[in-house]
Amino acid sequence: MGDVEHIQTAEQQGVSRRSFIKGVIATGASVSASNYVLRGGHGVALAQAPGSVERLVTLTVNGQQRRVDVMPQETLATTLRYKLGLTGTKIGCDRAECGACTVLVDGVAHYSCSTLTHQVRGREVMTIEGLEGADGSLHPVQQAVVDLQGFQCAFCMSGFVMNMVELTNENPDATRAEAAQHLSGNLCRCVDYNRILNVAEKACELTRNGMRS
């Protein structure tokens, strides 16, 4: 889940890092003063920048089609939390440093604070709210968190959990060291890493034993 992959993903969608930045500047966002940028567009005249994209889009989030009004420069974390009410995704840094905002896009872990919502059109987004089965059954990662009482303040939890879901899908045989490498894009400030690695190992074990994933 590194920057390289993120840029590749962006380019697949025809949005380069440069055009992302240009888009932000074009819409008049005050980058210097505003680390969080939110614009509902209510009552404020918005200049549609040349080359900007369609605003009313359909997203696939947790298997559901969601119609949502999205600004060109809007991040997926913003859309999820403030437009779709999916507040399980947390914003810890808004700059791809902490991983609290991690979600899956087509099964791949992404920092949603640094993913443009327009990049995920036509792709499957999964947030922590979508992990539980329709019958209420828990995902192996969720079960492992419950069994081992993983996480303390848990502000980092949803990001770690989503990244662990990717881990259990990709490499349920992961060693403790491999799990640490896989999860190294997520920060926990209670630094409960020992238990987090216990959870990762347990989630892998539950997956290997055939619990749904």
Binding site: R176, C190, N194
Partner: protein
């Protein structure tokens, strides 16, 4: 809901010369502005939420509310503002130097209740320039026990060292965001605070309202580590701005803003002189400490640093001198084991060095000095030192020696694998572990449930819930029958301890035990009145009160609750004890008539200050070509009384230890000395430990003496604080161990360049040992 954005000071010390927000306020979508002129005046040296005289880069000047954050940010940019730069200082020693700048216009320290100026005119500054902490300067605090000079005279080894520990941001993952709205004259505030009951009063005062007009909602806190003990000044902004614009206001604090005003542990520059007997026993300790105070408040980490040194090393002769000097750097606050972590980071390497010089086992020197029983320690009051309620450090050391295979660990010391050398480190850390005298409050409802109210707060350590078990234990009733109420002051919360300083576990097992015992008494009285006989004839167990020996003759809790409501008076909360806090009285009054209500103050004997202990064991590999350090293993032993919840207990020991790794290995500030601006202001530059910094070969181990504290009804003590120093000290000692028996570091964190410089003495040090923020 509208959103607020802040205008932050671009300078480390300045005065707002001119400000015109008319263009900003005329922008479409802008709702209003809050400036320092709109808020009640704050008495120096305390921090205000907004100011016209900023004392550090990033201090909030004003806030603008708008329909969305982008509009608010654009409006902040449109404010026409001019600052007059004022003299600033980043390093306390530079402020103490004759002619040096003061961080505040009125002085550089607090003397009693007043700001005043202290300069060290008489000391030898050439000595300082060569990296030695000068002695002889004026201080604001000092104490002595015994006769320190006589102590040194009987010492076989004296180590006189200059030591430094760095300032360190708290960096909770959840920033101090808040949202507030007003309804019928009441302010409803959602805030990120460590404590609930203890945040209510201060926040209400800051808003200029009565605590009964504040509803504070804070069920979960995304980390605080001492930076959000009783809320934060910036919470005031959403509250006051909301009242001004007449709409709910959300102030989302960014990561960068959090780095500015999210608080930090104060760094300490010190001279420490230890006198050891040949068996390793510390006989004399002389400390001189200068604390980097930031610009506000009166944090006294250096005094608690001295107390912990006194407790851990038990010197018969000890002298302490110190002062806090204000600097134009972010505000300081308690950080997980305030003063305790600095004590271990600065002094554990000296004790470890002494063991090597005296040829003593490095674990044995910890044991020989460790407190035991009701050990005395700390600053004397009226000439007498206080004592701890219990100390089973030696028992913990003995357990660890076997369980962790100390001999095997030591055998790996200095083993070489290519360019990597193994180092082994061990360190003791102590800290406060519990408050007393707060209130318990519970309701036994007619549906038979026991509703236990707690206002402590919830940092995810589970102490607010675990401590409720004490009430259920007093009622000898299954835990499943309990419901916990917390995190919202409209839900009738009692006066509680802060969720800080490891206070909750001890304080609330005591208060819940008190409320539980009183509820038991009420149940027995109700049963006696209903069924005949005297209260003493009845047993409370398993959700029932029944005639002892005849379980069928009794009442369920639900039935007893109905009878309590019918009886009224003291049984259902209409009459309350006189010694409970006003907040508890209010809460219990709100619950009156809902069932059997028991509100009780913890009046149990304290037996001394409640302290817990952790001993960290670290194994590192140091790459002598690159200076890189990798933790290979970390184990921790402890004494925190009876263990209340093993899983959470272990998580505190390890999580605290890993925070200590950050203290030892890299968390620090870097500031531009010319302009007083931050260079390291985000996670990647002011880097906390990551999951790659912890050992991954196996799960980290822990053990505990697990002996009951005699002054807690269930034997337990808190365990949040002490583990941090244990992690820091063990890693610092392990790195030095890898590099050679004659190597020790007098500064933390240990950066790679410091390691490489140690290995190559011809390379000059990059900076003075005492220089801050480099």
């Amino acid at each position: 809901m509208v959103f607020a954005k802040l205008l932050l000071s671009p300078m480390p010390h300045a005065r707002v010369r001119r400000m015109d927000a008319s263009a900003a306020l005329a922008m479409p979508g802008v709702e209003g502005i809050l400036t320092a002129d709109d808020i009640p005046e704050t008495e120096a040296p305390n921090e205000a939420s907004l100011t016209n005289e900023p004392h550090y880069e990033g201090e909030p000047i004003l806030a603008i509310a708008a329909i969305d954050e982008e509009t608010a940010a654009a409006a902040v940019e449109a404010v026409d503002i001019e600052f007059e730069p004022l003299p600033f200082v980043l390093d306390p020693m530079e402020s103490l130097r004759p002619g040096g700048p003061n961080a505040r216009s009125q002085g550089n320290t607090m003397a009693g209740r007043d700001l005043s100026t202290i300069k060290w005119d008489s000391v030898n500054w050439n000595e300082y320039d060569r990296g030695t902490m000068p002695l002889g300067g004026e201080v604001t605090d000092e104490w002595e026990v015994g006769d320190v000079e006589a102590g040194f005279a009987e010492a076989d080894l004296v180590l006189d060292e200059t030591v430094f520990s760095a300032s360190l941001s708290h960096q909770p993952l959840e920033t101090r965001t808040s949202m507030a709205y007003w309804q019928n004259g009441k302010c409803y505030m959602h805030a990120s605070t460590q404590s609930t009951a203890r945040t209510e009063g201060g926040t209400a005062r800051a808003l200029g309202i009565d605590p009964t007009d504040l509803v504070l909602i804070a069920e979960y806190c995304g980390g605080g580590f001492g930076s959000k003990i009783a809320g934060c000044p910036q919470d005031q902004i959403s509250g006051l701005l909301s009242r001004k614009v007449g709409k709910p206001v959300m102030l989302r604090v960014t990561r960068q803003e959090e780095n500015f005003f999210g608080k930090a542990r104060p760094g300490i520059q010190a001279r420490a002189k230890f006198g050891f007997r040949s068996d390793g026993r510390v006989v004399a300790l002389d400390l001189m400490m200068v604390q980097d105070g930031g610009p506000y408040g009166r944090s006294g980490d250096y005094m608690s640093c001295a107390d912990q040194a006194s407790l851990m090393y038990q010197p018969e002769h000890m002298r302490v001198r110190g002062l806090t000097i204000y600097t134009n750097t972010p505000p300081r606050a308690a950080q997980r084991a305030p003063g305790g972590v600095q004590a271990v980071a600065m002094f554990a390497p000296i004790v470890d060095n002494a063991a090597k010089q005296l040829g003593i086992d490095r674990l044995e020197i910890i044991r020989v000095n460790a407190p035991e029983g009701q050990a005395v320690f700390g600053r004397p009051r009226q000439g007498v030192q206080g004592n701890v309620s219990s100390a089973f450090v030696k028992e913990a050391v003995d357990k660890a020696r076997d369980e962790f295979d100390w001999a095997g660990m030591q055998a790996r010391s200095k083993q070489r694998n290519g360019t990597k050398v193994t180092g082994i480190g061990v360190a003791l850390s102590s800290y406060s572990a519990g408050a007393s005298g707060v209130d318990g409050l519970l309701v036994i409802r007619p549906d038979g449930k026991v509703e236990i109210h707690n206002g402590a707060g919830n940092l995810g350590t589970e102490s607010f819930s675990d401590t409720s078990r004490a009430a259920m234990e007093a009622l000898d009733t299954p835990w499943e029958q309990a419901e916990i109420v917390w995190g919202d002051t409209s839900k009738h919360l009692p006066w509680s301890a802060v969720q800080a300083g490891s206070m909750t576990t001890h304080a609330h097992t005591r208060s819940n035990w008190a409320a539980g015992l009183q509820a038991k008494q009420f149940l027995q009285e109700i049963a006696a009145a209903q069924l005949g006989g005297s209260p003493g004839d009845f047993t409370v167990s398993n959700g029932r009160v029944y005639r002892s020996g005849s379980p069928s003759q009794g009442l369920s809790f639900g039935r007893a609750a109905e009878l309590a409501i019918r009886a009224g008076g003291k049984f259902d909360g209409h009459e309350l004890p006189e010694d409970i806090n006003e907040m508890t009285t209010r809460a219990a009054t709100g619950l009156a008539g809902r069932g059997l209500v028991s509100a009780a103050k913890d009046n149990f004997e304290t037996g001394g200050r409640n302290m817990s202990y952790a001993i960290g064991f670290a194994e590192v590999e140091v790459d002598i070509e690159t200076g890189a350090v990798q933790l290979k293993d970390y184990k921790v032993a402890s004494d925190a009384g009876t263990i209340l919840h093993p899983q959470n207990f272990g998580a505190q020991l390890h999580g605290g230890g890993i925070q200590g790794f950050g203290v030892a290995l890299g968390q620090k500030w870097v500031m531009d000395p010319q302009w007083g601006l931050h260079v390291a202001k985000r996670f990647y530059s002011n880097r906390p430990p990551t999951i790659l910094d912890v050992p991954t070969e196996r799960e980290m181990a822990w053990t505990a003496a697990d002996l009951p504290d005699p002054f807690n009804p269930v034997g337990c003590k808190g365990i949040g604080e002490a583990p941090v120093g244990a992690g820091a000290g063990a890693v610092l000692n392990a790195i030095a161990d890898a590099l050679g028996d004659d190597v020790h570091f007098n500064r933390s964190p240990i950066m790679r360049d410091m390691i490489l410089t140690k290995l190559n003495p011809e390379v000059p040090e990059a900076h003075n040992l005492l220089t801050t923020h480099v």
